[in-house]
Each structure stands twice: as structure tokens, then as C-alpha cells.
């Protein structure tokens, strides 16, 4: 039953080693996809190569399905997973600015790290820019604070605002993914360079699309929100269990040695 850390499987020091391992895999797969190269990344904005969208959307669909199936099977408890809080206005404006920064600078934060280690000077300059940008934000914070907290909705999820169960949402996202993949491949064939676009066999793609939609359909039918482990009562039960683990944990390194405190602005 996960998340393992919240149930006291390992301590803070071990969690940092875990971070190194997870980060290593993260950086590794990004570089494999070619995301250390700004020209490969921004090609999406000139309709030539949609690798960014394909990687991102596929990762989201896989992880979303994984979390829902894990909850249904009782392997993970969403009560122990940090759900990002929504602040709608700063997120819209922040997204727009980040988009401009992406096409201007050629990277987003993590990909610039991968670019820097593969020897790209522009990646390093982008990193330095990010530190300056963070500093500017911090210094302007007294002026921005009101807007920074505008549109606070708490940790709401799509099923809360759309009024349909998370299984239906999974199915919708799966269908949307397949339609988008089909669409962007058409666009790529028109604007892109056939030499560098990924090859793929049509039967494999069709099978994968069918599997994806079938997985969504199963979730839509079983409705994960009514499963034991997803109901409100069991969420609070998990919190109790978590508290007990935290209480029992050794305190020699100070009261916070075994817990995270996720600072609100950290994203995850």
C-alpha cells in the first residue's frame, strides 16, 4: 500500500536518495526523447514535430490510469498523495508567460537542465535566467501577493468541477489523446521533415489506441470513486494511520526529520 514514504517505510535521508534515482530516470528519458535540444523542443510551435506533446500527453495518460487502477486495487491511497491546489488566475497568467519563455528561450526548466549537461551553452544561460526570474518574482512579491492568491479553489480535481466520476474522465482523456495523436501526425506529415520524424507501424499504433480506450472504458464502468479506498471515510482513515506512523517515528533529528513539508509553490 502506497505511498510508501507516508507510511513510514523509509526516512528523510533515504527519500533524498530516492529523489536522486527518480531524477536520474527522469533526466534519462527526457534526453532519450531529444529534449536536450532546443530546436527539437520548439519545433512543436512551428508544427514540424510534436514530440513534446506526444511525450507529455502519453505520460499524463499512463500515470493517470496507473493512479486510478492502483487506487481501485488498493495499492495506493490518494489520501496520501499531495494534490496540487488550484489558483486559477495566477495559473492562467503564469502558463501564458511560461509559454512565451519556452518559445523565446527554447526550453522549459527541466529540459534546460538536460541541455546544460549535454553541453549546450544556451541551456546554461537559460538556467541562469531562471534564477534571475525567481529573484525578480521574490523581490516583487509584496506587489504581486494579492494576484498570487487570486482564484483559490483548494485541491480540486476535474471530477469535482465537471460533476462526472473519475472513470468517465479517464475515458474522455484517453479518447482525447488518441484523437490528438492522430491529428498532430497529420499536421507533422504536412509540415515536418519525414527524415527525422519517428517511424512507427500502423498496426501497433492501432492496437495501443484500442488498449488505451479499453482501459478507460473499464474505469468508466467500475467508477473508481465508489470503490473502497476512494471514499471520503477511507481518506480520513488513511490520515489517521499516517499520523500514527509520524508519531511513532524516531525524533532524534528534530521533529521534522521524517516528514516533508511541501512548500505551496513547489509544484509537487
Amino acid at each position: 500500500m502506497g505511498p510508501l514514504y507516508k507510511l513510514g517505510w523509509f526516512d528523510f535521508g533515504y527519500s533524498l536518495q530516492m529523489a536522486l534515482l527518480i531524477g536520474f530516470l527522469f533526466g534519462f528519458v527526457l534526453e532519450r526523447a531529444g529534449f536536450g535540444n532546443a530546436r527539437k523542443l520548439v519545433a512543436i510551435f512551428y508544427l514540424r514535430d510534436f514530440a513534446v506533446l506526444k511525450v507529455m500527453f502519453t505520460a499524463i495518460v499512463v500515470c493517470m490510469m496507473g493512479l486510478l487502477y492502483f487506487s481501485v486495487l488498493g495499492w495506493i491511497h490518494m489520501g496520501g498523495v499531495y494534490i496540487l491546489p488550484t489558483y486559477i488566475w495566477p495559473q492562467i497568467v503564469g502558463g501564458l508567460i511560461l509559454g512565451v519563455g519556452f518559445v523565446m528561450g527554447g526550453y522549459c526548466p527541466t529540459t534546460s537542465v538536460v541541455a546544460t549537461v549535454s553541453g549546450k551553452l544556451d541551456g546554461l544561460i537559460f538556467l541562469i535566467g531562471m534564477m534571475l526570474g525567481s529573484f525578480i518574482f521574490a523581490e516583487l512579491f509584496p506587489v504581486l501577493e494579492g494576484f498570487y492568491r487570486a482564484g483559490a479553489m483548494g485541491p480540486v480535481r476535474l471530477q469535482d468541477v465537471l460533476g462526472i466520476n473519475s472513470g468517465m474522465i479517464a475515458l474522455l482523456v484517453a479518447v482525447m489523446a488518441v484523437v490528438i495523436y492522430w491529428l498532430v501526425e497529420k499536421v507533422e506529415q504536412h509540415f515536418g521533415d519525414p527524415e527525422t520524424l519517428p517511424r512507427g507501424s500502423r498496426p501497433i499504433k492501432r492496437t495501443a489506441a484500442a488498449v488505451l480506450i479499453a482501459l478507460g472504458l473499464i474505469l468508466a464502468i467500475i467508477n473508481p470513486d465508489t470503490q473502497p479506498g476512494m471514499t471520503k471515510a477511507s481518506l480520513s482513515q488513511f490520515e489517521k494511520q499516517e499520523e500514527e506512523v509520524q508519531k511513532a517515528a524516531p525524533k532524534e533529528m528534530g521533529s521534522e526529520s521524517t516528514t516533508f513539508r511541501i512548500v505551496e509553490d513547489e509544484g509537487c
Binding site: P3, A19, G23, L25, F26, G27, L30, N37, A38, R39, A43, F45, R48, K54, M56, T58, V62, G66, F70, G80, V81, T86, P90, G94, I97, G99, V100, F102, V103, M104, G105, P109, S112, V113, V114, V117, S118, L121, D122, I125, I128, M130, M131, G133, S134, F137, F141, M153, P155, V156, R157, L158, Q159, D193, P198, V263, D265, E266, G267, C268
Partner: protein, 174 residues
């Protein structure tokens, strides 16, 4: 896109997407949180300011929140994750023979203007990531997998911002 003769061909994006989704799922399963990196650079900034003017950080309305724990500012999960991402990227670039000192740019722009634009893009991204409480990985990828509402809105905003302004930067890339 990829210079011919240098390094191997990039992997299939769908395969990479599945692997990235599994890495993210593993992170949720073990730690109860997802990936991220932008706050690492905010923390480095905060640590730098602390080094030069410790009082300034303690009284700072924004940076002081990085001092909520008793640990040093940089002894944090995401900082180690970013360090790992650097190592993983380095390993992958090394085995694919893709490490090369260069300034990535289109054929019609000189290195210096490109570097100024990279700096500008970095400043905008650093600012925006703090405003939105995360970047493409920490907010969009992680949050969208959990079906967080704000993260989906944020992700579409990124694409909107980039597509709306791509025209003005076309000479930088093609």
C-alpha cells in the same frame, strides 16, 4: 532537426511518454508526490541571498518560506531530484554520443542574439513558474496526472502562450 552524423537517432516519443508516465507513477507510489524542478532554482537563489544577506531571507515575505524546516535550504527533495535529472541526462547523452559544446539555434541567427533570447526566456520562465507554483513538470505533468483542475488550465495556457507568440521568434529557429 537533428544534425546528421552526430549521435544516435532520438527515441520514439510514445515509448518515452509511457516510460515517463511510469517514472511519475513510481514517484507517486513511493513518495506521494510527483516530479518537478523549477523550485530548485528558486531555492538556489534563496540560498545565494542567504549567503550574502541572511537577515534579508529571514524577513523576506516570499523567500522566508524556504526556511520553514530546520534543514538547510538546499537539503530538499526537489533539489536532489534535479541533481539526479542532470546525471541521468548526462548519462543518456554520453551513451548516445550527443555531448557537444554548442549554442542551439536556427540557421539564421548568430550565437550572441540567441544567448540573449535564452536569458530572456529563462527570466520569464523562472518568474512564471513561481507565479503558477510550478513548471511544465511540477505543475502541468504532475498535476494533470492527478486530474488537478489548475494544472490542466495551466498546461493549455502554456501552449496558448507559446503558439500566440511563436511567429515573433520564427527567425530564431528556422
Amino acid at each position: 532537426m537533428q544534425p546528421k552524423g552526430l549521435g544516435q537517432r532520438y527515441s520514439n516519443p510514445y515509448v518515452i511518454g509511457v516510460l515517463l508516465g511510469l517514472v511519475l507513477l513510481f514517484s507517486f507510489y513511493t513518495m506521494g508526490r510527483g516530479l518537478g524542478s523549477s523550485s530548485t532554482f528558486a531555492r538556489i537563489t534563496a540560498a545565494g541571498v542567504e549567503l550574502m544577506a541572511p537577515d534579508h531571507v529571514q524577513q523576506h515575505p516570499y523567500l522566508s518560506k524556504y526556511l520553514q524546516t530546520e534543514r538547510p535550504i538546499l537539503m530538499e527533495w526537489l533539489v536532489f531530484l534535479t541533481l539526479g535529472a542532470g546525471l541521468g541526462g548526462l548519462f543518456s547523452a554520453f551513451i548516445a554520443n550527443r555531448i557537444q559544446g554548442e549554442v542551439t539555434r536556427g540557421p539564421h541567427i548568430a550565437p550572441y542574439p540567441r544567448l540573449w533570447l535564452a536569458l530572456g526566456g529563462g527570466i520569464l520562465s523562472g518568474f512564471a513558474a513561481r507565479l503558477a507554483r510550478g513548471c511544465t513538470s511540477g505543475q502541468a505533468l504532475t498535476g494533470a496526472s492527478e486530474l488537478a483542475v489548475g494544472s490542466w488550465v495551466f498546461m493549455f495556457s502554456i501552449f496558448a502562450g507559446a503558439y500566440l507568440t511563436a511567429y515573433f521568434f520564427r527567425k530564431e529557429w528556422s
